[in-house]
């Protein structure tokens, strides 16, 4: 307008700008405490499996005056046990469908819903935080930012692969133990055929043999024996491979879960010891409830530096006294990378008389992919590194076979036997 004084036309645009401002600020934005906006969140599943899409719905309701333009943004949940890398989207929870942002106008009493699907890539507890909301005038000249809390927790469990370990009745990898299996009937070993004695159940009658020989014969069974075992899961920082936000935790948990499923499913008594950010311990018991408790412990466990397999023998003595004193327990060490501490632990426990088994989780492929995807290394460098890592792993395997049977777990193909303990 000042340019009108010397008679120039240059300043006329300022009048147009002022008109735009007046136009936009006609409708004032409500103050944060007066907005009357509420947010509620719901998910299709609060307990889900890895890789299963979960639908998230975030509903925004307006109990105040009309707001012309709202930009709502929701942040995908974070894994409670994950390391925080600021400025990077979480690699554990990935949006697979829909958008986490919404642009809308909302009248009094109106309601809008932001909808998207998430896939979880690692087991654990995921926590949703708050959603950020930007109230804007239509031309964006006025803006207020709000953060509305909408907490929710989703627990993600490891997924059992289609090709799982089929251990057969009361056997895991061909071992049988000394604890009687809890299963009766079908879970028995066939021993012999003998003459019928009064009181024998009819279902045990061998009708074919009876017909052939002309006298009543029954099948004789012997109750199967299960293992009394402890699965020791190593989640210590030194033995978990990591690349950026990716760690081998998911693979280790999945393999431990598969192993426990097989052992429990075959009627064995299974216990758990998790070495990570916290010390998880569950005494050996039978049944699916026991499996559930162990899975919950695994889901809550995180990578840590405090607890390591170095003190496995002490923990066994402290928490699993019966197994420890009788030396009955069969131990399964599940780990992604064999450390010297683990090697020492396996050797000492083996010398004490425990039957030791090492399950190496092959996380090298996942680590290589993560290194390439996050552009930490070039593909040829990754390939070169993997060759060294495989060679090193091979030598560790050879050392482990002196004290334990060695198995390798690979995602998608399960367990393969890599070496039997050298018996002297």
């Amino acid at each position: 307008m000042l340019s009108n004084v010397p008679g120039a036309s240059f300043g006329l645009a300022s009048g147009l700008v002022l008109l735009l401002v007046a136009f936009d600020l006609r409708t004032p934005l409500p103050r944060p405490q007066e907005t009357g906006l509420t947010v509620s969140r719901c998910v299709s599943e609060t307990k889900t499996l890895m890789g299963v899409p979960v639908l998230i719905e975030l509903t925004l309701e307006n109990h105040g005056c009309r707001i012309e333009k709202i930009l709502m943004h929701d942040t995908p949940p974070v894994l409670a046990t994950a390391r925080r890398l600021h400025g990077r989207p979480s690699a554990h929870a990935v949006v697979t469908k829909g958008s986490t942002s919404l642009l809308c106008g909302i009248g009094k009493g109106g309601r809008v819903t932001l909808r998207y699907e998430i896939e979880f890539r690692e087991p654990g507890e995921y926590r949703f935080g708050s959603c950020s909301i930007r109230l804007q005038s239509m031309f964006g000249l006025a803006e207020r930012a709000l953060v509305l809390p909408s907490p929710l927790t989703v627990r993600v469990y490891p997924r059992r692969l289609a090709k799982r370990v089929d251990t057969g009745p009361a056997r895991a990898f061909g071992w049988s133990g000394v604890t009687p299996s809890k299963y009766s009937g079908g879970r028995l070993d066939f021993v012999n055929v003998r003459s019928y004695v009064s009181g024998d159940p009819l279902r045990d009658v061998n009708w074919k043999a009876s017909g052939r020989l002309g006298k009543m014969l029954v099948n004789e069974w012997r109750a199967e024996r299960g293992l009394d075992c402890v699965v020791i899961v190593d989640l210590s920082a030194g033995s978990l491979p990591n690349a950026g936000e990716w760690t081998g935790r998911g693979d280790v948990i999945t393999s431990a879960y598969e192993l426990m499923c097989s052992l429990v499913g075959s009627g064995n008594r299974v216990g758990l010891l998790v070495m990570g950010s916290s010390l998880g311990k569950i005494k050996p018991r039978l049944g699916s409830k026991q499996l559930k408790a162990m899975v919950e412990t695994l889901v809550d466990s995180g990578e840590g530096e405090v607890w390591s397999t170095k003190h496995a023998a002490q923990f066994l003595e402290l928490f699993f006294r019966r197994q420890y004193t009788l030396r009955r327990g069969t131990l399964f060490f599940v780990f992604a990378w064999p450390s010297v501490e683990l090697l020492e632990s396996v050797s000492s426990l083996s010398r004490m008389g425990f039957v030791c088994n090492s399950v190496i989780v092959d996380a090298l492929g996942g680590e290589g992919r993560a290194l390439t995807e996050q552009r930490i290394l070039r593909p040829e460098e990754v390939e070169f590194g993997l060759r060294f890592a495989r060679a090193e792993l091979g030598s560790f395997k050879a050392m482990l076979t002196a004290f334990s049977d060695v198995y390798v777990w690979t995602a998608g193909s399960g367990f393969t036997e890599e070496g039997r303990k050298t018996r002297r």
Binding site: G7, V17, F23, L71, C104, R115
Partner: protein, 160 residues
Amino acid sequence: MILLLAAVVAAVVSSNALATVMVAACTASLVVGFAWKRVMPTLLAGLFLYPALAVALTTVLPTALSYLASGLFVIVICERMTFEYDVSTVLGSPTGIDAEARSLVSEVSRAHTRKMSLYVALAALVIAGSATTSTFTAYAWVLVAAAMLLVLVVLVYATR
């Protein structure tokens, strides 16, 4: 695209070294704003284009009218562009967007267009008023246009 085209036309028509530099600055700023979806570089591009376009328009329109027309053009295009940045952050999701969210976005877009049309109509009223005044007096129409705009500003703001 429209803004870039207008910038090129303005540079060619005005055939002025300073205008060419301003148009180049406008183009650079526009590209930066568009690439990073930033409001400030886009507004800066509009600011660079305004005088150059106005000078170019003086070849077909009276001076005051060309400044008003140039200002209106730049404001409308820049405002729509910055609005589209917000829309594109929502619609440009690599994992898609559901139909309900899409309809909500298009509702906001329609509301924005309505409001912008009203603004353009009011500004056009001012331009028409100042053009009419210019037929009666050769000197006062800049003042008349400015006064009309001020009155409109007060009126619009007073109706809140």
